[in-house]
Symmetry: C2
Subunit: 332 residues, 2 copies
Amino acid sequence: MLDDRKSAILRELVEEYITTGEPVSSRAILERAKLDCSAATVRNDLAVLENDGYIMKPHTSAGRVPTDRGYRYYVDHLSPGSLRRRTRDRIETFFSSMHAELGRMLKDTSDLLAEITHYPALVLGPGLQGQTVRDIHVVQIEPTVLLVVLATDTGRVHQSALQLSDPPTPAEVTEASEALVARLDEFVLGDDLLSERDSEAQALSTAALDIYDRILEVVDAAAVVRREVYLGGTSFMTDLWEDLSKLNRILAVLDRQATVRELLDEEAVGTSVRLGPEIPAGEDDLAVVSSSYGDDDAGGRMGVFGPMRMDYRRTIKVVEEVSEALGDSLGG
Amino acid sequence: MLDDRKSAILRELVEEYITTGEPVSSRAILERAKLDCSAATVRNDLAVLENDGYIMKPHTSAGRVPTDRGYRYYVDHLSPGSLRRRTRDRIETFFSSMHAELGRMLKDTSDLLAEITHYPALVLGPGLQGQTVRDIHVVQIEPTVLLVVLATDTGRVHQSALQLSDPPTPAEVTEASEALVARLDEFVLGDDLLSERDSEAQALSTAALDIYDRILEVVDAAAVVRREVYLGGTSFMTDLWEDLSKLNRILAVLDRQATVRELLDEEAVGTSVRLGPEIPAGEDDLAVVSSSYGDDDAGGRMGVFGPMRMDYRRTIKVVEEVSEALGDSLGG
DNA sequence: GTTAGCACTCCGATATCGGGAGTGCTAATT
DNA sequence: AATTAGCACTCCCGATATCGGAGTGCTAAC
């Protein structure tokens, strides 16, 4: 743990570096922090902080720059923050005037988050897990292809095409379909569906039972269906990383859906700040601030990413605020 | 129109510039083209081409670089091309082994196109226009909210939530719903639906008729519903534009769905190559090669974009080939 | 533990320079 | 009239040198 003055020095150093991007000198810290000591004292403390791994020098006669560990300490102990009234209002008006289909809504949210934070933003859509089935319909598109459409009580719709080996008769489809409606009414997605034989299946003909079983599989799979990731504010990236090759690697991460989701730290509950090596993407100068929105069931995560030199104080607050607002908006 | 030698010189100049990115000298052209004349003659012709606006010099003692007009002439008159066997095979295997839900399929196609061309790729999804309604279902999610789900004969599903002022009874919803099924069976989206009173509406109660009318509006609007744009291979951008501020402007274009669609030249039929000022995005160093896929009805457009210095010969071929393959894949 | 003073380091901006690639022009040739 | 060899001229670009200044570490005094 750091003593008061060293804490203050580290805090001012990080914040000065966040705003200017230049290595910070002992004098600059002194001026910012209005400490009751001299530059030489600050230099002594800086030497200690450097020795402990919180900061480093780009070269011999330069100022200091935070290390991973320095940022981590700052985020964990030194960065309280609250939002300006205007920002809060902006979030509120945005969500109070939003009425759109879910996908569009999430995309717009990612744009909003990016615009407020000035960092590119990610929003992971909610899954179907935990949703209650309200309606299921089976449509025979081609002789051997069935389209299964599932609607939940929150208005989410899931579709899936089913390829059969033998063409069923319309009557058989209807038979299976009616049994499904009975079986799945009020069914909660994610609950166990396949393990035991059910009463609805009893009366079905062989052909209808086959269809029935196949569709139950589809419904079972729906709970873990691919969740969408929405990305907004990518154009901020050029301001954040000057280096083309770094930019390239970040874009490569974004090109792959799988790795994008990893950025959001799905395991975490609540807010998470991950720095550099803590992120699976394997980038060094990368930080992600993310937070959960909505219920466990009908919610997801959102966040922003940027270089380690990031305005954590404000960003964390904004991400949390927007998460909460989206959660409320979806819940109500 | 340019005479043979000038044409050849322009072609070689463009292709040399495309591969090297350096201003091209008279001697380099001579070596490439194996022309039966001297460097001085080439220089004379270059002076003429420059005078006519096909090429320009970055500075006094440098080689020549194509202008907008030079690229345009090249694309229109000088760039036939055919694909290597391996590329063709790759496209074929990709599509023959693809079985997925539409959205995923289009995203994967954009990735493929980008990977083959090494330019970022766009795929505009097909609209619902021209699709035949196969099934329509109305689900009452909340007392005053109805969910309308539409399935077409090709297995596309469209959903839309409908907010009512007064809560209908389930019986009224069923009544309207049954009339809708009768009215919309085999209806082709995009056809006129609202202009004349129809027979199915005759027998409905006031409340049901209200719902019925509102839903017809929803169905009518479905034909022109927002089509998705899929984007792949964004990480190639850093290789294409070295300049951060240019990159930033391109990313800003991609951030907005509306402007992204403009890139694809939706008016065009078949293949389109647009250069610099011809593109609404207002970028100077930008070229887009795009092509239609599928039928007029169930099709869309795809394309790639890059700087003007682009391998048009190959790119045009690839975009056309992939378009055709996707069209076939969707049609079959 | 703190501070003033000072020598030392090293970055980065600016200036200078020369080689070399490429052109345009002229005059001769076909 | 078109082509070509020859040559003077232009100007970019990379390498090298220089220099001021900001910042540090260390030492010795408080």
